[in-house]
Amino acid sequence: MKLLHEPLSGRSQAVLGVVGVIGTAAVWEGLIRSGLLDVAGLPLPSGVISGVGDLLPDETFWDAVLFTLGEWMLGLAIATGVGVLLGGLMGAFRSLFVAFEWPVEAFRVLPSVAVGPILVLLIGQGMLPLALTVALSCIWPILLNTMYGVRGTDTTAVMTAKTFGNSDLAVLRKVKIPSALPFAFTGVRIAASIGLLVAVSAELLIGGGDGIGGYILTNTANATDLDLVYAATLVAGVLGVAVNLAMAKVDDVVFGWKKGLAQ
């Protein structure tokens, strides 16, 4: 029997992926070198790669990466704590949902980076205002996913817990929150990529020269080595991909049971 779409083997998928990346870089390199594309400031892939090579031994760069990572993780942690708590409560209690629905909708559309300068005014420079900016953008997918996860808890599961004599609060703790956790985690995964974007953006806009954003800013200001700037951007991107992969793995291992959730 032949399937309509034969699944590719893992090996041919990997080969195709590598060919695609190298091919794109090669075409890009060719376009610039041949003079077909003549725009100042466009990076040569080969230049960026060697830029990455220059970055790797650079301690200031790694300090910047660590700073960004810390800021991002702090922001994500704050967003996760507050988002799961608020979302869980809003999902569990109708009155809280009604009370907070519009404030949430209003704050949700607020561009968090725009709030950044206010935070700097309020609490001064440093990692905290940056992390809070990250948290402000990360909280929404976490909060909303947790809320809908809790509200979507299977009614039979809830009735089961109740017939064993559990109070509403115990049902929330023992059944609704656990069954909403995979949804909350999906929220965290979405938030994580948004968070990295916002972390670097915030460093560019309101940072004090720290982090990957600060590093890029310093080097473009000096206008010395654009390849280095692109290389730093590339490293940030690779970081993001790596974190996403790690989280997908965690999702698979910790929340593998979600395939048992009734559809």
Partner: protein, 274 residues
């Protein structure tokens, strides 16, 4: 209106007084949703340490009635008494097995954790002992570390029964417990229920739309009419125990009772067009 209904439909006297004291008493229980009357003045007694079965056509409010008995819902009129005490909220000593085992079991817990769910407050040693006993009782020893969704439907329903047993219920309510499993599994689970009930002496109340099942399982059958449901008749089943799927179901008495229940359900359905 409700008051007159009660006098029009007194608790039908069961044929034999063999049943013990009433564990559960329904007295004129009605439930309406807005203008829609789901059950109308249900009165019946569920004897202690016996299997009683509520049978009725689909949509006759059987599940509504179970929700009221379990304290998850309140009647709009009438009352429910469990061991002589009016039911307000979920009474202690009650366990319920639902038709939809895949929704009733918690997918993030392995079998042993699911079974331990109702007895988390107990000391670890007693808890472990009860879990072991309950799992053995339903024939699932060795499957403790599986997730429910890795098991067949019949095995999942066994887990749900084990979980109910672990809570040491005085009253076991079952809402169409075998409506979602295949015929062979169903027969096995019916026998499992009867064995456990006779071993542990629990009071069991099963709701089903399956007439064969009701006669096969029951010491007492409470026949409901089509909605808005009333009790059509209460029948005490005098078939000998232990029962089995071949001997019991070919017993002329079984055939007779089954025919009687079938006629009751037919005539009521025709009398009250839906």
């Amino acid at each position: 209106m409700t008051e007159t209904r009660v006098t029009e439909n007194p608790v039908p006297r069961a044929a034999s007084p063999a049943a013990g004291s009433a564990e559960l008493l329904l007295d004129g229980v009605s439930r309406s949703y807005g203008d829609n009357l789901a059950v109308r003045s249900i009165s019946a007694e569920v004897p202690a340490s016996k299997i009683s079965v509520i049978v009725g056509p689909s949509g006759c409010g059987k599940s509504t009635l179970l929700r009221i008995i379990s304290g998850l819902d309140e009647p709009t009129a009438g009352r429910v008494e469990f061991e002589g005490v009016p039911v307000k909220g979920v009474p202690e000593g009650l366990a319920m097995v639902f038709q939809d085992y895949s929704r009733s079991l918690f997918p993030w817990m392995r079998v042993d954790k699911n079974v331990a769910f109702p007895i988390k407050h107990l000391p670890a040693k007693e808890r472990a002992e009860r879990v072991r006993f309950a799992i053995e009782e339903v024939g699932l020893s060795g499957k403790e570390k599986l997730y429910p969704w890795q098991m067949s439907g019949g095995m999942q329903q066994r887990v749900a029964i084990a979980r109910a047993l672990a809570s040491h219920p005085k009253l076991l309510l079952m809402d169409e417990p075998y409506a979602s499993v295949d015929a062979q599994t169903r027969a096995d689970l019916e026998d499992l229920l009867m064995r456990i009930q006779s071993e542990l002496g629990i009071t069991v109340l099963v709701v089903t739309h399956d007439i064969d099942e009701s006669v096969y399982l029951a010491d007492r059958i409470i026949v409901l009419s089509a909605p808005p449901s009333v009790v059509a008749e209460v029948i005490d089943v005098d078939l000998p125990r232990p029962r089995d799927h071949i001997a019991t179901k070919t017993d002329p008495r079984f055939v007779e009772i089954r025919g009687h229940v079938t006629r009751l359900l037919r005539s009521k359905e025709h009398a009250t067009p839906v």
